[in-house]
């Protein structure tokens, strides 16, 4: 990976990138998610996209606080982030986290933050369609892959096609789970559940979902969210299937199959 530019670096040279890569907290701090962040950054570099990150100037969008019920904390975070984004005159944002994506896209505008916001799978689909990224090697050709829809990309924002289109470009054998697309089943992490123990029940949500993914016979569970990644990976481990089944972000699969 080449050096990553921050908005501050670029501003110091009076430059502006075409797009801001919003990394998100999981993408910045969680070891598994950091790999996804790097994959996506590498893809952007391969495609020759002019991009930058906020680095230390980025802060939580406030999504988990908002969904936990703390509107104050959310709006404080939003106001801070919007101030930063607007100061850099950001127009386009791309992010690997559907929760950041949803918040930036749907909740920031009313608070003064108006940007074109894309999920990384949408961005990657565009790069592939425009020929800026080319699939080579066919590492996943014919391999059975199932895609787990993140609630905040799919149902919440009606994007079911972009990640699947990328997977089709990889010539993977895309198989659907019983509950998919607008009827997709949550991984169990949303609404701030990621940060707490689940209430009493007879099963964990991620186990239920993992079983469904395993039922498809897929060897790869493709995801598009750092939290889904954690939940599904834990689920596969719990089912002791980690030798046979792997959980990857769509960008990781694409990064494996493209050369610069």
């Amino acid at each position: 990976m080449e050096a990553i530019q921050t908005m501050a670096d670029m501003a110091a040279r009076s430059e502006k990138p075409d797009v801001l890569f919003w990394v998100g907290c999981a993408g910045s701090f969680d070891d598994r998610a950091k790999k996804i962040t790097r994959s996506f950054a590498e893809l952007l570099q391969k495609a020759g996209v002019s991009f930058a990150v906020l680095g230390q100037e980025e802060s939580c969008t406030g999504d988990p606080a908002k969904r936990a019920g703390n509107e104050f904390l959310f709006q404080m975070q939003a106001a801070m982030n919007i101030q930063t984004l607007n100061a850099y005159e950001v127009k386009r944002v791309v992010t690997t986290c559907p929760h950041c994506f949803n918040t930036l896209k749907n909740e920031y505008p009313e608070l003064g933050g108006n940007y074109e916001v894309l999920h990384h799978t949408q961005f990657l689909q565009k790069l592939l369609d425009e020929g800026k990224l080319k699939v080579e090697g066919g590492a996943f050709k014919g391999r059975k892959v199932t895609f787990h829809d993140p609630c905040y990309l799919g149902r919440a924002n009606d994007e079911f096609e972009a990640p699947r289109s990328v997977l089709r470009d990889l010539e993977a054998d895309l198989v659907e789970m019983k509950r998919c697309k607008n009827r997709g089943f949550c991984c169990g992490a949303g609404g701030a559940q990621m940060f707490k123990e689940a209430e009493k029940g007879n099963k964990e949500v991620n186990i239920e979902r993992t079983e469904e993914a395993l039922d498809t016979g897929a060897e790869i569970v493709a995801v598009g969210c750092p939290f889904c990644t954690t939940m599904m990976t834990d689920g596969v481990k719990n089912k002791e299937e980690e030798a046979r089944v792997k959980v990857y972000d769509v960008s990781e699969l694409l990064n494996e199959s493209t050369r610069s």
Partner: protein
């Protein structure tokens, strides 16, 4: 006009008048209860709203996500809508003392129309039987969860039986007429085969039978009308406005609280005086979030009265499916039951008198609220555009902002966001480490 005819007209007017009087009274009560909620502006994007209403309420587009239930529901629904044309004739006949007033002007078309209604009523009967089968023999899981015990289950059954009686009365009325001489209508495509029941009856007896079923059908309809405000069946009326007023923004958008926005703006404004006293005569600040039905907005309260208790939401809820206490259908039923309770309180006392109860804790437990993943599956599944999630989140807002009563782990997460700008305890300075290692 014969006296007997005059008496019949008088009875009809009396029955209709009573039914309409009580219906508007009870429907008015529901209307008043809904208006106890907070104001919400959902009058924007009207043309889009009409379209959605046409598609989801009139066109039943979401019902067919489950094809079997969807198909038979559409059958009942179409039957209900179209047979109402015949009910119009019944009303006019009742008022004027005429018999099948449309038969003259419509001629052959009338026979065709009546035949069509007969076929529809057979369809409705079939659908009701299928639904009774699904509830009682097949015992589909979503009809038998905890919140369905008792009245809700009886309510659903009762409606199906009443529909059977109504359709039966319609067919038997025609069957009697099929045996009468000089009838302006017929032959009846279905009920002529039921005419054997009346074989050998005198013309007078047939006439009485026909009148009897006519009255049974009419009284049935009026009784049903008055049953609606006490039943989940009120959805046949409310689903239309409910869909019209539904949220049009992306499902993921939770909405920003305007009151908080003002506060935050003041805090961020370097020129604002942080110690300024609130303006003289400023309204008492609204409670943050929802503890009781008064804190919900009107569309949320209308949602509660629209709920059909179908359980589609609950059957797709990841929390419910994994054995947690949360059931989005129960959330809707709890809101409605609490609102009914509040309404009765007002009926009795003129104004609401504090009863020491609330939606939170007395009906909806904290455990239920914290089990939600905000996945929107319930919202997507609801055939009448109800949004249980918005109520859950509004109640969480109350818990956190008024009571600081979040689960301990969430408090920790929020402290981290506040101090480190991330939900975990990492240093802001390490944000870009991923680019180095």
């Amino acid at each position: 006009m014969e006296t007997i005819n005059m008496i019949e007209i008088a009875c009809f007017v009396l029955a209709l008048g009573t039914a309409v009087f009580f219906f508007q009274k009870n429907a008015g009560r529901i209307r008043r209860n809904i208006q106890l909620g907070r104001d919400v502006d959902r009058s924007d994007r009207a043309s889009e709203r009409w379209k959605i209403m046409g598609r989801v309420a009139l066109g039943q587009s979401k019902m067919v996500a489950r094809p079997v239930a969807g198909f038979f529901h559409i059958l009942i629904y179409a039957g209900f809508l179209l047979i109402n044309i015949e009910v119009l004739e019944i009303f006019i006949d009742g008022l004027l003392g005429t018999h099948r007033i449309f038969s003259g002007p419509l001629g052959g078309l009338y026979t065709a129309a009546i035949d069509f209604f007969e076929l529809l009523s057979v369809g409705v009967i079939l659908a009701c039987l299928v639904f009774l089968w699904r509830r009682n023999v097949q015992r589909i899981k979503r009809f038998h969860t905890a919140e369905m015990k008792g009245w809700p289950t009886k309510d659903a059954q009762l409606i199906l039986y009443v529909e059977l009686v109504l359709m039966g009365a319609l067919l038997m009325m025609n069957a009697a007429e099929s045996q009468m001489e000089g009838s302006p209508a017929g032959p009846f495509v279905i009920s002529q085969y039921l005419g054997f029941v009346f074989k050998g009856w005198s013309q007078d007896a047939l006439h009485i039978a026909e009148r009897g079923f006519w009255w049974l059908h009419l009284i049935g309809i009026l009784a049903f009308l008055n049953y609606l405000p006490f039943s989940k069946h009120f959805h046949i009326i409310l689903s239309f406005p409910n869909v019209w007023y539904s949220k049009l923004d992306s499902k993921g958008s939770m909405g920003n609280m305007a009151s908080v926005k003002e506060e935050v703006e003041k805090m961020m404004d370097p020129n604002a005086d942080p110690f300024a006293a609130p303006a003289e005569g400023a309204a008492e600040p609204e409670r943050f979030g929802a503890k009781d039905v008064f804190d919900l907005h009107r569309v949320q309260l209308m949602n509660a009265y629209t709920c059909t208790e179908c359980g589609r939401c609950t059957s797709v809820c990841p929390a419910h499916e994994t054995g947690k206490k949360l059931s989005p259908r129960k959330i809707m039923m709890d809101v409605r039951d609490r609102l009914d309770e509040v309404g009765k309180n007002i009926d009795k006392n003129g104004d609401f008198e504090d009863d020491g109860l609330s939606l939170l804790d007395d009906r909806i437990s904290r455990e239920e609220l914290w089990a939600c993943t905000s996945c929107n599956a319930c919202v997507e599944a609801c055939p009448v555009a109800i949004d249980p999630l918005s109520i859950i989140l509004e109640m969480r807002r109350y818990l956190v902002m008024e009571e600081s009563a979040a689960p301990q782990e969430l408090n920790l997460m929020m402290t981290n966001v506040e101090n480190n700008g991330a939900p975990w305890q990492f240093a802001q300075a390490d944000r870009l480490n991923w680019a180095q290692d």
